[in-house]
Symmetry: none
Subunit: 207 residues, 2 copies
């Protein structure tokens, strides 16, 4: 997993895994069924109860009934051992894409723009663009939903954390402008950060 650019943690038991989930910010869980102590199905249950994180079972128990009970407890995929690494990676990527946390590739790129989410840095070609924390947050929110139009209400919530706000519309408008001034070659003719009138803004894939 690390080779593919993901952060990865491992736990020796179900309990330890659940503890990790609460201390770290985790996007996906790969889980065996045969575990010391608490069994995998129970762990999956307890995960699905409290959070919406995709779970993949990876188990030597290859009976159909095992697979079925795994999927029925809400697991998102079930891979039988022995498994192929490449297949696992592909299935992980697919799941992350579905659940929208997909662009955890730590760098989001479109055209000459590059966002390194791990370091919170933005580059235009090789040059770093210095963004203020707010500007960066806004760009990341847009980047994580590349090509999707996002309304100012959602942006306000995702980037600022405000549910509603008097001048929410203005705040977004102005900060979009500030972002454009920094990331667009010509801020009045945006190429990356586009407006969909009446709907919102989107960061578009270019080229």
């Amino acid at each position: 997993m690390k080779d593919e650019g993901y952060r990865a943690y491992s736990a020796g038991s179900g309990e330890e895994g659940l503890r990790l989930l609460h201390s770290e910010s985790v996007d996906l869980v790969i889980l065996d069924i045969n575990l010391p102590g608490m069994d995998g199905l129970k762990v999956c249950d307890s995960i699905k109860e409290t959070m919406q994180i995709p779970v993949i079972f990876l188990s030597a128990r290859d009976q159909d009934s095992d697979v079925i009970s795994g999927l029925e407890t809400g697991a998102d995929d079930y891979i039988r051992k022995p498994f192929n690494h490449r297949e696992l990676i592909l299935r992980v990527k697919k799941l992350l894409r579905y659940t929208g946390n997909g662009i955890h590739e730590s760098t989001i790129r479109t055209g000459r723009l590059r966002i390194r989410t791990d370091r919170e840095e933005v580059y235009f070609d090789k040059e770093e663009i210095k963004l203020t924390p707010m500007e960066y947050k806004l760009l990341e929110v847009l980047g994580r939903k590349l090509d999707w139009v996002i309304s100012w209400q959602i942006l306000l919530k995702e980037a600022w954390g405000y549910e509603d706000w008097e001048g929410g519309r203005e705040i977004v408008k102005v900060n979009i402008r500030r972002l454009r001034v920094k990331i667009e070659p010509d801020p009045s003719q945006p190429v990356y950060l586009l407006t969909e009138r009446g709907r919102g803004y989107k960061l578009a894939t270019v080229e």
Copy 2:
């Protein structure tokens, strides 16, 4: 599949399957790799190129390399034969849940027209038609009741949220016109958005 309450079609070859896809409104494809004529991977490729329908491979070819190439062509899942019915159903359900299809279809299509309700985008063949928010709302309301005649009172309520309104009739009339100008090849000879004099309007299935 039918026992589970799904509509199901089957095709004896890739070509036939692709033809079915265009004539019927399909939410998910289950595909073998070994097919007479065009092979399954090619079929999957061609599906993924033009539409965003989930594809599950179901194949006797159980080598890891087969699974990997299947997933890499963009398939959403790969099940090895022999397979268990219950597992297949569970995986189908899961996919339909992810892609949001199933309950309310995420794309409505008639003739050369396609409405992507998840992104609020409308296409004529491959070309996107830019609609204003109001135009889109109206079209979606009509599209969700394909072939049903809807009165201006209902349209007013569904699209505008007004219970009654002085110039309600006019507002609908004018916006229907605006929609037609954008979606009809010849706005004065509508093919999609038809009038039922005295009753209302409907979005008709074409072909």
